[in-house]
Symmetry: C2
Subunit: 249 residues, 2 copies
């Protein structure tokens, strides 16, 4: 489970001329997945409060209800410090271009200075027009297969939102989930190993004495890679004990 | 445009018991967006070659046609070196847990050693069962809003695929798109500034001589932040020239 406290000044996601209610709904769901709530709509063709939109939002109807509606982009971005335009293809235009990750880092940097930003998403199929992109400080170009980079609206919202969300949490790239137990200390692993070696000794497993040191080392290497919990160590002690008893019987 | 050459040993994406044809189609599309093509299906309920699936794949029908079908997870992963299971909630189970980014780095590390891996995605709604997760070496837990982290199948495929794709490219977090021109050299910016200063001088803009150095410095700061192209510099020279002519007339 991720430890997350919603920050202030999270970016607004601004859907420009969205055409289909369902897409506004799935975009709202994607925003909710990324803990974003400030949805703005510019000249929407879609009815963002329709049944279709609410059903598609899968529980993100609050975001739809609170969406602010504007006639033009300048009105929608008036209170923001910086605006990013998502577009698949950068046209003949002079503009900084961020990856999704780069834009998220920029947005997070602005948030640390108490600055709120916004991200423009164009209409389905056509995308943003050049004159609309011109209102933005920078472009966001999500790195994807250059041969097939077209995304639907909700997916574009999800990828940018996901990158923003990642800047707001502190999640280790890898951790060991140990359930109800905890990682064993080194001495627990070593005791298990000694128990196993003893059992193998009394079973006559080490037939050639010169080979024993190497065999022991290899087995210790296997055991060291397993990263066992205390509970797992106890279970393996039980298995060794049980096998030993059967052999000795 | 991203420079991308498809690598070998890209991971297989394995859909376990997918229920709806449309979801297999949109998952194929998401794989195509991320330049992945090895789709595997375990005991699919959905007809992955149906019209619905093909339509939903938006051009990724090749991935559907080439999908390999298996009865069980062990069969589907037999040729792989490492298997990751995507799941929203990690159950009482001892297992390494990666973020999407962490898993992608791990997958890419294995690729560099010529090792092919696979990622398991569970059925819609229910997700993978505990006994299915147990076949995996590690869990992938995509960091999302803990209150609303449920994703549909295609979105889960997209987020993991996107992270894998990012490991395969070398994209600067920020670059300046300059269209048909290129970034101006410093002397071009400086000449424009001198031109502007001259024009303001002859227009009598610097009324208080003591204030001029500071005003000049402030204007230079504004100009330096613009990161202009050679073409833009030429355009601004023209504007200054034109204003100057009108003033002098």
């Amino acid at each position: 489970m991720i430890d997350y406290t919603p920050a202030e000044n999270l970016p607004a996601f601004i859907l420009v001329r969205p055409q289909l209610a369902e897409n506004v709904g799935t975009a709202a769901r994607a925003m909710m997945n990324c803990a974003l709530s400030d949805m703005r709509l510019v000249a929407p063709k879609a009815d963002w409060l329709s049944e279709r939109a609410v059903a598609a939002s899968s529980g993100a109807s609050e975001i739809l209800k609170n969406a602010k509606v504007f006639d033009t982009i300048p009105q929608a971005v008036a209170d923001l410090k910086k605006v990013y335009a998502t577009t698949g293809r950068v046209r003949d235009m002079v503009k900084p271009v961020f990856t999704g990750q780069g834009a998220a880092a920029d947005i997070a940097g602005l948030m640390r200075l108490n600055g709120k930003s916004g991200v423009l998403f164009g209409p389905e199929r056509t995308g943003l027009e050049n004159d609309e992109v011109a209102y933005a400080d920078a472009i966001v170009e999500i790195p994807l297969n250059p041969k097939h980079c077209s995304l639907n609206l909700a997916q574009a919202v999800l990828l940018v939102g996901y990158e923003v969300f990642k800047t707001q949490i502190d999640a280790a790239d890898e951790r060991l989930e140990t359930g109800n137990s905890e990682m064993a200390n080194k001495d627990e692993t070593e005791h298990l190993f000694m128990h196993l070696e003893q059992a193998l000794d009394s079973a006559g497993y080490f037939k050639v004495p010169e080979k024993k040191p190497r065999m022991v080392r290899n087995m210790r290497n296997v055991l060291m890679r397993t990263r066992m919990t205390s509970q797992e160590i106890r279970t393996l002690h039980g298995i060794v004990e049980d096998l030993l008893r059967k052999y000795q019987a």
